[in-house]
Symmetry: C2
Subunit: 404 residues, 2 copies
């Protein structure tokens, strides 16, 4: 089995934590490992010396060059032009920025869904406290936005509609073209949080009436701490932060050159490898799901009837405490998660699964497995072994503990 | 001469741009080069694999470890406790955050100075547009805050006073203890932008009634794209961004692990090397200034009568076009700047020098030279040679061009 492929040089570090031989990382929606080529690009950027892209003198040239190459690669990955790409410190910042910028005037009305990422949900909460009206379009039991409801809630006085392209917990792909079309027909600006879509779906952002798109690099093997805001030409966007002239004056602050070098390389690689990566990831995911469903009676695929992104499998294991299950899996070197990493420190049932109609108990029974191009079929098979074994074990415990 | 010390492995890249042998980087207030040890710490962080500090499982442990070590080193550099240190994406974000957080209620009143960094000035402008009252305490001809004026402007209804500890253009050190004491006596919260102070002054932040302090890593040899907000225990601070539970829920967004590893190492090194570095930098700066003043008649040290930080020299060369002068110096491999890098793309006279009472012409005649621990005396001497030669050349041109 190609374990090296998963953790690269760092397998040993993780083994120290795990204490055994099995280390299978299936939490790629939380974060991915750097690809060796991305590592290489950061190495090059590390050698650049004292170079501030904002400096007028030639010492700034090297940094400006890195910025320019990276911006081009990122733009190409989503089919945009470089002048519409703005680097931020994360998807979270990028999301906050768009919501902030489009709700400066009062009255303002924002339309979201109940299954958005925490960065949209909490920012919407802040806006609500400031007097902005926030509406939520409900989703069906697969997590799909109800278009009829969208049709009613998106009115010409809406300041912004913000809907995740792909859900981070279930992988559900929203009908973004349809939603964008509804917005466009009413002259309403449309933003999509595409953190889990970029690099997993073929995206030509200008083919759809998307006004703003945001994402982060660490979901496709760039480093953590680098995000992107795309803005369609001609749509309004004011800075959230005050400061210097960086990013065309729209996102001030000295640039994170290492992160930008990394996301540039990761984007370039991803573009070359699409759509093969998607096919391969879908095969891995299906191999995994089919094996689990065949061996574990009663397991349910959350959002199983929706179109889902290639790499995500959110499974409900009825009758077991999902947190205990996950803890055992993690101790056995199978890394997976409940809900998103951003909220995983909070022991609450997933808001996404609740919005889809699951009970709190069902939500707690659910675990997310997410694959990356670094996973191999042998890992999937090994993970299935451990998961099915642990599931039986826990079910056995439940039976033993239940009153005679 | 130890040119390698300045640019490390990257000397060749800069030589490509410069086209000759002389490469002397005296723009360290804009950004500094990574120290080899910081480079090493980032290398280690690059090997960490897929580790999200927010992940509940052990794969997150390695990232959490990096975060924890770095936070400790940064806290120690300024004499704070780790729980009061929050990582941001830049000094700019850190400054915006504090101003944002402390002005949520209306009415709000903020007191700044006319010589603040662009991130404070522009954010204050945004707040003004939102109805916040903004007052500026004037400065004297050395750039020092007028304490009498501060005494009058800081009233109990002030939401926040925000004053730079060390000016980025002139190096002027503000009487921060006095200003903080005025604020404390009125129960007013006090923030200092310490981007140019941290690592150049011995700081024990809890010895002074400072409520918030912000800075960035790339001013002391950490990478670009990582900043810090310090908050005194018990003072209010709400998040600016909505999102996950990172940084105690106060600054959401997946952490920039490479940047954090870098600032941690840079902070640890700096702490060990203080106060020797300050002494050495002051010697370099004085050697430079004394030689220039001895050889170039009429040159004036801006803020020359104020206490200044060890590494900064802002010189006015009467009778020459400072932009042309700087351009020639840069072409000859002496990297220096006018005003700050964040505003250097805008050909306007420095707002700092104007506020000190210089005319626009005098401001344009002024150039900032800023040293780092990587500069050596031989570079200073070589820079002086080039600067004095270029100055004579330009003065000669001016005489030749002037009407007979």
């Amino acid at each position: 089995m190609e374990k090296q492929a998963v953790f690269g040089d760092n397998l040993e570090i993780l083994r120290d934590h795990v204490g055994d031989e099995t280390v299978i990382y299936l939490d790629n929606n939380a974060t991915t490992a750097l690809l060796p080529e991305v590592h290489g690009a950061i190495q090059e950027a590390l050698l650049i010396g004292p170079s501030n892209p904002s400096s007028a003198h030639q010492a700034g040239d090297a940094a400006r060059h890195v910025l320019s190459i990276a911006r081009e690669a990122v733009a190409e990955l989503i089919g945009a032009s470089t002048e519409h790409i703005f680097f931020t410190s994360s998807g979270t910042e990028a999301n906050n920025w768009v919501l902030h910028a489009l709700t400066r005037k009062r009255p303002s009305k924002v339309v979201i869904t109940p299954i958005e990422h925490e960065s949209i949900r909490q920012k919407a909460g802040f806006l609500k406290a400031e007097g902005v009206t926030v509406h939520e379009i409900p989703v069906d039991d697969n997590g799909l936005v109800l278009l009829d409801a969208a049709d009613k809630l998106v009115t010409p006085d809406t300041s912004l509609v913000s809907i995740q392209w792909v859900n981070n917990e279930t992988g559900t792909i929203q009908p973004i073209s349809d939603i964008a079309a509804i917005c466009r027909s009413r002259g309403v600006l449309f933003h999509t949080d595409a953190a889990q879509a970029v690099g997993k779906l073929q995206i030509a952002v200008t083919d759809i009436p998307i006004d703003y798109m945001t994402f982060s690099g660490h979901k496709f093997h760039a480093p953590k701490g680098i995000g992107v805001t795309y803005r369609r030409p001609g749509t309004p966007l004011s800075p959230m932060l005050g400061g210097g002239t960086q990013e065309s004056g729209l996102r001030p602050g000295t640039e994170n050159l290492l992160g930008i070098a990394g996301i540039g390389k990761a984007a370039a690689l991803r573009r070359c490898r699409m759509p093969n990566i998607c096919t391969r990831l879908a095969h891995l995911r299906d191999r995994f799901e089919n094996a689990i469903l065949a061996r574990c009676q009663g397991v349910v695929v959350n959002s199983g009837n929706a179109g889902r992104v290639c790499n995500t499998s959110n499974l409900r294991f009825p009758g077991v405490d999902g947190q205990a299950f996950m803890a055992r899996l993690n101790n056995r070197g199978i890394y997976c998660s409940q809900s998103s990493a951003c909220t995983s420190q909070i022991p609450e049932p997933s808001h996404v699964l609740l919005a889809m109609g699951l009970t709190a108990e069902q939500a707690f029974e659910s675990i997310r497995f997410s694959f990356s191009e670094q996973n191999v079929p042998e890992e999937v098979d090994e993970a299935v072994q451990v998961i099915t074994g642990t599931y039986s074990e826990l079910k056995g415990l439940m039976v033993a503990r239940s009153p005679a």
